[in-house]
Symmetry: C2
Subunit: 153 residues, 2 copies
């Protein structure tokens, strides 16, 4: 049962993550001024794949637990927001709206982490790297906004 | 508790649905040949809002029930796929890939309907209009593909 659940949650992660392949960073992103600590492009898919495995494990563990209502609702919310950033940032090339999406994603990931932890601390801990990464992504988005005031809408 | 859960699931629906506002049907869509039974544009947000209320109700009911693991995992999967179609169809203007997304969405909605029903038949029934609407949307996407062979990629 665990592995079926893991597979479904992982499919949800990759559905959200497929936007990364559909709206790849193109010439527009390459020409933006970026902070010196910007990770190279290959880091993003590698990191996300690792995070997806953690997120799916957390989801499957808590799905099998009693009292999972809030945690499961929030898991759904964060995955719906997760798939939104790439089309907004790379598709619409809207840096400011990307920042808003990331802020909402950060809040939903933090809330999911807490709700998961209250059911099963291992599941909560599996969301910690995800929250750290969304924080870094938020810093990157904010820096790009600051460094490109003429392009940022 | 029901209303908190309802609110979180509804927020997930609107996060996915926000792609409809971010990637609106523009000149490209207006100039496509469409079947005579194509609903007018205003029908889509009205229908989706109604469906979101049904989907959030179903999610909240089953979140509070025992044995909800598969249903909750599938609810997450369908909402992750739900937000994907609009950026693919209207954003990338990729009719063929839109058809693939709709097929995956249809399968995930059908599976979620069955899994919800097995926990709580009312929740399953609340997904019936959603499955009907995704079927109609699939028919529309397929017709647009057939009627615009030169545009469809």
């Amino acid at each position: 049962m665990f592995w079926i659940l893991f597979g479904i949650f992982l499919a949800a992660c990759f559905a959200a993550g497929s936007t990364g392949g559909l709206f790849p960073p193109g010439a527009w992103y390459r020409e933006l001024k970026k902070p010196s600590w910007t990770p190279p492009d290959w880091v993003f898919p590698v990191t996300w794949t690792t995070l997806y495995i953690c997120m799916a494990t957390a989801g499957a563990r808590v799905a099998l637990s009693d009292g999972n209502a809030i945690a499961m609702a929030l898991w759904s919310l964060q995955i719906a927001l997760n798939g939104l950033w790439t089309p907004v940032f790379f598709g619409l090339q809207n840096i400011r709206l990307g920042m808003i999406v990331l802020a909402l994603l950060w809040l939903s990931v933090a809330a999911t982490l807490v709700a998961l932890w209250m059911v099963d601390w291992i599941a909560g801990a599996l969301f910690v790297p995800y929250l750290v990464w969304v924080t870094i992504a938020g810093g990157l988005n904010a820096s790009v906004w600051r460094l490109n005031p003429d392009i940022a809408r």
